[in-house]
């Protein structure tokens, strides 16, 4: 647990900063009141908590720069935060630091159809970019499950993906320009409306840097032309192996779906109980495949995918092309995380990745792990790119259950690494997986990451204790979730 001592008072070192912060951000832009600071104590991974020393809510890039410059001058750590939906405690506040929240920087500065891009402030919600672009026939492609509330600035920090990144890529593939405030408080413009900015690709390295290289204050993203046709297909199988075979044969046939998602029996059962998604009875696995593009191409691919699912042993396949029918198919998949929260008092979610060809083997091993430990594991995952989200279920009131669940969860990550995969496909490292980085990278690799980090942040004040393992951090337990995430509960976000 990353709980800090009850922070009722702003630490003395920070108290001296407060008047200056108020000069910069205005009276209402600085929160020192303990109860208001406490509302920022965690991000989407609510298990990790720390009340920030002080919270600032700047409204302009200049204010962000002035705040960070002040932190730099005084050697005070700062933590950037967008909408706080992250799932790796990447925005976990620093008890003796400044939490810089971008939620008041919510202007969509421009939808530039001629240049197929949008210029936005970091606090703009992901889906609002698409909403603003939609009347022009465009959308913003990265679609993390929290897209209704998560911020574009947060997406940049985490290099967010989403169900459709199989075809369209991640945030990094869609950012053309960034204004950033560096850890020394300088405002630097990188790229802009013109892609291919000259020199080293700092935009590429900044995206996904989890707030450790500075704060993005203005973001130019690509807009993507809305596809002519989108079809969603649901195919049911009597075994996970059969579903896995369908995934492999679709890929081998040269079809690139925009999304390809799979759920196992336990996840289906949970989803049925929660939202009555009416998936085919008796399915041990369901596969959701989405195809989009020019109508004639989609039609040809759909016929191929239906045929391949049949050959792999599917006993029922449904297709939908209208938005409502498609939403019905997605409903079960999108509700899965929340649904699992309803059938188990607590669970751990993993975000490991395996090469697609290793999926059947890894899923079998997960089943064995589950059986031998008596810990139930529900599998919900992005099958197209091998990104697993195993949900390790346990009852946190039962003594020792959390430790056993933790063991299973750790063993699953080890499986991913053994098979040449990754410890995180989209949730990020943050605090949660910082201590697992040495399982994936060697000491020289980690030292090189640190070398790069220090080229931006020599004093180590930008989101310290995130992304890379530190002695202070490691040895602590990664995240356990209880029940349903508050954002999901309130209907403001899906989690999948």
């Amino acid at each position: 647990m990353t709980e800090t001592a009850p922070a009722t008072r702003t630490p003395a070192a920070l108290a001296a900063l407060v008047p200056v912060l108020r000069d910069i951000c205005g009276e209402d832009g600085v929160l020192t009141d303990a109860s208001r600071r406490r509302t920022y104590e965690s991000d989407g991974l609510t298990h990790h908590r720390s009340v920030p020393g002080v919270v600032v809510l700047p409204t302009t890039a200049e204010q962000v720069a002035a705040v960070v410059r002040l932190c730099s001058d005084r050697g005070v750590p700062f933590v950037p935060r967008g909408a706080g939906t992250g799932l790796s405690a990447g925005a976990l506040p620093h008890a003796e630091g400044v939490l810089v929240v971008t939620s008041r920087m919510r202007r969509i500065i421009e939808i530039d159809v001629d240049n197929e891009c949008a210029v936005v402030e970091p606090g703009v919600a992901n889906l609002d970019v698409t909403r603003a672009a939609a009347p022009h026939g465009y959308y913003y492609a990265p679609d993390p499950s929290s897209q209704q509330v998560c911020s574009v600035g947060g997406n940049v920090a985490e290099n967010s993906g989403g169900a459709h990144c199989l075809k369209y890529g991640f945030t990094v593939n869609h950012v053309r320009g960034l204004d950033i405030v560096t850890p020394s408080g300088e405002l630097v413009s990188l790229g802009g409306r013109s892609p291919d900015a000259p020199g080293y690709d700092l935009i590429g390295a900044f995206v996904g840097s989890e707030g450790t290289l500075g704060i993005a204050t203005r973001i130019t993203v690509n807009l993507t032309r809305a596809p002519q046709k989108t079809v969603t297909l649901l195919s049911a199988f009597t075994s996970m192996d059969a579903g896995g075979r369908a995934v492999s044969s679709v890929i081998a046939a040269g079809v690139l779906p925009s999304a390809m998602e799979m759920m196992d029996a336990l996840a289906i059962e949970a989803a049925e109980k929660a939202v009555a998604c009416d998936y085919p009875q008796g399915a041990a696995a369901v596969l959701v495949v989405e195809l989009d593009g020019p109508a004639a191409e989609v039609d040809a691919q759909l016929a191929e995918v239906v045929r391949l699912c049949g050959e792999a042993g599917s006993f029922e396949t449904r297709t939908a092309s209208g938005p409502e029918e498609r939403a019905r198919i997605w409903k079960g998949r999108k509700s899965a995380f929340a649904a699992v929260g309803r059938i188990s008092p607590a669970y751990i979610v993993q975000d490991g990745v395996v090469p697609r060809t290793a999926l059947p083997e890894v899923l079998r091993r997960i089943t064995e792990l589950s059986e031998s430990s008596g810990i139930r594991v529900a599998n919900v995952f992005h099958a197209g790119d091998g990104n697993l989200h195993p949900l390790v279920l346990f009852d946190d009131t039962e003594p020792g259950a959390a430790d056993r669940a933790e063991e299973v969860s750790g063993a699953i990550l080890d499986l991913c690494i053994e098979h040449g995969g990754s410890i995180t496909g989209e949730h990020g490292v943050g605090v949660d997986k910082a201590c697992k980085m040495p399982r994936m990278y060697g000491p020289d690799d980690l030292a090189t990451f640190d070398l790069f980090r220090r080229s931006f942040d020599p004093d180590g004040i930008a989101n310290p204790d995130k992304l890379l393992p530190t002695p202070r951090l490691c040895g602590e337990r990664p995240g356990v979730r209880r029940g349903v995430h508050p954002l999901v509960e309130s209907g403001r976000a899906d989690q999948f």
């Binding site: 001629d114 240049n115 197929e116 290099n159 890529g169 990094v172 560096t182 630097v188 990188l190 790229g191 802009g192 409306r193 013109s194 892609p195 291919d196 900015a197 000259p198 020199g199 080293y200 690709d201 700092l202 935009i203 590429g204 390295a205 996904g208 840097s209 032309r225 002519q228 890929i251 040269g254 593009g293 020019p294 004639a296 191409e297 039609d299 990745v353 395996v354 090469p355 697609r356 091998g386 990104n387 040449g420 995969g421 990754s422 410890i423 995180t424 496909g425 989209e426 490292v429 997986k433 980085m437 994936m440 020289d444 690799d445 030292a447 090189t448 990451f449 790069f452 220090r454 080229s455």
Partner: protein
């Protein structure tokens, strides 16, 4: 010079440098050829301890890219790091840096897959392709080269081997350092291996080649295409600075009048339009139809030894736009029809119409390749200004100086290249670069310049945004500035 025995390391062949190894005018003291990444690490560590400057080399096809290196004590030849580990079922490949690009492409093609990038140079190694980092025309669906790199192993200036990313497409663990090395010109480390995501080969493709009457015509076409949902893989512009005389071997072309390029600001005046371009030379097998090479001055034409394979019949020397569609044969039929109907609606408003568009089932010979000689300036502009930029830069490069140059590039990405004929005066390059840099939001860098252009003091990089941060990164990875010093904007 450091004595040879001090540089001997296990697994690394070492010899004296010769004139053939010269980097610009610098003849390196030694050339080392490590057999594998470990040997590469050893020679880098030794050269680090000795304080030697190091230039990495694959096939040496881009040694003149970027600024001119100030020093090159040691050339590291990556040719020994040649291996391909293709995991077809995962659509992933990991490749040693010294692997010839052609070998990689052949292996992937045999498996029905591809690395979705059009190389801009013939030959070359994978390490060289990544270190130079330039993407060819087909980048609209699957992104630029940098978007396809999923992992990389690099040997740092001090000999430390560092890996980032991995062999899975989806992975956000750690910093994406491969982005820095892609296009880093070997100034942040020596690439040892690269992992890429792959795509299936499309079942078929169509190339719609559209002769252009004017800048306005190009702008109307690209705007109209943008409004469709045909999802092109490439929309590639070809804009010569001036029209060369029609090839004499082209019987029909000989009867065509040749005009200067359109005026800079408007297509309203029919008088200056290339009103009638030579019609398709249907069976022209002469070298004149090499489409993406710069139209060379006549004397060098005779030097061509390798005649191009049959190429598209539309005259390459007129301005044109090429739209590439990839997909199933059924899908392509409908999509091509859409493109053609869009073109009818975007026809030139004034003057006689150019020849109609032509549809091919194959890419033209030399597709995407930049000329192998002469200065090339890379210009990035907001995409909507691509045609304007091509016209303005073509005019600066060509008409003002009487130089042959051609502007090519991806319109929807605003990624343009101004390729000058070999021997083009430095003044033409300088004016082009200065003209581009004077426009807000545009950037211009010397991708490759001839020695007389460098000698004239044309700044290869200009005032690029974020330069102090870039230098900080450089200082972290190569504090002694020993890796190809001078190639990047070092500030030294």
């Amino acid at each position: 010079m450091t004595p040879a025995e001090k540089l001997q390391v296990e697994g690394c062949a070492l010899r004296r440098g010769t004139a053939d190894d010269a980097v610009g005018t610098l003849v390196p003291g030694y050339v080392a050829r490590p057999a594998d990444a470990d040997a590469l690490a050893r020679i880098m560590a030794v050269s680090g301890r000795r304080g030697l400057t190091v230039v990495a080399r694959g096939h040496g096809t881009a040694m003149d890219w970027g600024g001119v290196p100030r020093s090159a004590d040691l050339v590291v030849d990556t040719g020994g790091l040649s291996w391909i580990d293709h995991i077809a079922g995962d659509l992933v490949v990991e490749v040693g840096a010294g692997t010839p690009v052609a070998d990689l492409f052949a292996v992937l093609e045999a498996a029905g897959q591809r690395l979705s990038v059009d190389p801009v140079r013939e030959g070359g190694t994978v390490g060289g392709m990544v270190a130079t980092g330039v993407s060819g025309p087909r980048r609209l669906l699957t992104g630029a080269l940098r978007d396809l790199v999923i992992g990389m192993t690099v040997v740092r200036a001090d000999g430390v081997v560092a890996r980032s990313g991995g062999r899975v497409v989806k992975n956000v663990a750690g910093y994406d350092l491969a982005k820095l090395h892609t296009g880093g010109l070997g100034t942040l480390g020596v690439i040892a291996s690269v992992a890429f995501r792959l795509h299936p080969l499309p079942p078929a493709l169509r190339v719609v080649t559209i002769p252009l009457a004017s800048r306005g015509h190009a702008e109307r076409i690209t705007a109209a295409l943008r409004a469709t949902t045909v999802v092109p893989a490439a929309v590639e512009l070809h804009w010569p600075s001036r029209l060369p005389p029609p090839p004499s071997t082209d019987a029909s072309g000989a009867t065509q009048p040749t005009r200067l390029p359109p005026p800079p600001s408007t297509d309203a005046s029919g008088a200056t339009q290339p009103t009638r371009l030579p019609p398709p030379p249907s069976t022209d097998a002469s070298g004149a139809t090499q489409p993406t090479r710069l139209p060379p001055p006549p004397p060098t034409d005779a030097d061509r030894t390798a005649p191009a394979p049959p190429s598209p019949a539309v005259p390459h020397h007129g301005p044109c736009l090429r739209v590439v569609l990839e997909g199933t044969p059924e899908g392509l039929e409908a999509r091509t029809a859409t493109v053609l109907s869009v073109l009818r609606g975007a026809a030139p408003r004034e003057g006689a119409a150019p020849p109609g568009p032509q549809v091919d089932r194959e890419l033209p010979a030399g597709w995407g390749l930049l000329p192998s000689e002469g200065t090339v300036v890379r210009v990035s502009v907001p995409p909507a200004e691509s045609a304007e930029a091509a016209e303005a830069l073509g005019a600066l490069a060509g008409r003002a100086h009487g130089t042959d140059a051609v502007v090519t590039g991806s319109v929807p990405r605003g990624a343009l290249f101004v390729s000058f004929a070999p021997g083009a005066p430095a003044g033409a390059v300088a004016d082009t670069v200065a003209g581009a840099r004077s426009r807000p939001g545009w950037s211009a860098t010397l991708l490759r310049a001839e020695p007389h252009v460098h000698a004239a003091g044309v700044d290869p990089w200009g005032e690029i945004p974020g330069l102090p941060l870039m230098r900080a990164v450089r200082d972290s990875f190569d504090p002694g500035r020993r890796l190809a010093p001078g190639r990047f904007a070092d500030g030294a």
